[in-house]
């Protein structure tokens, strides 16, 4: 009979490997859904403010400034999501830590690496999610958009 450390056990045991892969797949789906949510939010934001965007163009905003506005809003939305997500994760991890059956199998900690990773993902999601809305917004013709109902 071989005695294994918990960490060693979790690395070699196939069910844990499947669990890990599943976690990555779920994470990837969450990333995709997050990106789509940001895109959806920003598309709605642009479509409901077409006249407003026309006004800022008439007042001298360049296409670059309009794009900056859209990407900036998207980053702000993602930053809020990231803060909320980190808060929920920290709470969830605390709960897991309190479950005796999981003791030793998982390491419920939220370190700098995880926070930086979440930040990087939030920025990437925000920028990718805002690409189409920004492209749409900068292509608006101010005179036409001003007549938009």
């Amino acid at each position: 009979m071989n005695a294994l450390e918990n960490e060693e056990f979790s690395k070699t045991y196939s069910q844990f490997r499947i669990l890990k892969t599943t976690a990555w797949v779920v994470g990837g789906c969450a990333f995709l859904l997050g990106g789509l949510s940001v895109t959806n939010t920003m598309i709605l934001s642009v479509f409901t403010r077409i006249r407003e965007l026309a006004v800022v163009r008439v007042c001298g905003f360049s296409r670059v400034q309009v794009a900056q506005m859209i990407f900036g809003e998207s980053l702000a939305v993602s930053a809020l999501g990231m803060v909320a997500g980190l808060g929920l994760s920290a709470g969830g991890l605390r709960l897991l830590k309190a479950v005796p059956q999981f003791q030793g199998y998982i390491d419920p900690s939220l370190g700098m690496n995880e926070i930086l990773g979440a930040l990087a993902l939030a920025v990437i999601t925000a920028l990718l999610g805002a690409l189409y809305p920004a492209w749409y917004a900068v292509r608006l013709k101010p005179a036409e958009a001003m007549r938009h109902e």
């Binding site: 006004v55 163009r57 008439v58 007042c59």
Partner: protein, 231 residues
Amino acid sequence: MSEPLSEFAMQPMISVKDVWKSFDRGRIEVLKGVDLTVQTGEVLALCGISGCGKSTLLNVIGGLEIAERGVVEVDGRPRLGEKERLQLLRHEVGFVFQLHQLVPGLTLEENCLIPAVATRMPRKQARARVKELADATGIGGRLDRRVRELSGGERQRAALVRALLNDPPVLLADEPTGALDEQNRERIFDLLLDLARSFRKTLVIATHDLDLAGRCDRVVRMKDGRMVVNE
């Protein structure tokens, strides 16, 4: 013509030569060879029924639409590229529309500051300029109000402040009193004329109100995309 042209009206500020513009891939011709010259400091009324091309002409002069043929010059320079049109919108023309076109979620002051954000004018200077213009238009005490809290006349005054913020030499007003009641119509029109004359602006007003147009230095009538009377 209520007031004579002043001594600074010496050179053309706006020059439009044989300008053509159509929409819907050429199916709707709106401007058909328009020629127009507006002197520096002149107040010109552009009259005609709806659909005659007044608004399109203003948009072409202000760089919001691009003419398919012809030459448009503001302050002696044609505006062909994106960069030149941006320069035009930021520093040389201010637009006032029939509907105030203020952003509903912002305060009156924030709305008036939009052109200053575009030109990256220092905030302190921009706020001082807004205050000065707001006082001149009679809305100095309402700057912290949201758009929904303002009357139609106050909204249009705010639109005037916004148009004047970057001190453009040209003001283009598209039916600026069209959405106002009679009393406010007179007041806003008078204010527009006073501001243009006191700040030495070249003003082009598109209107179908001949009474109001009669107060301008010159009246130009348009019909079916062409100039018909220049008086």
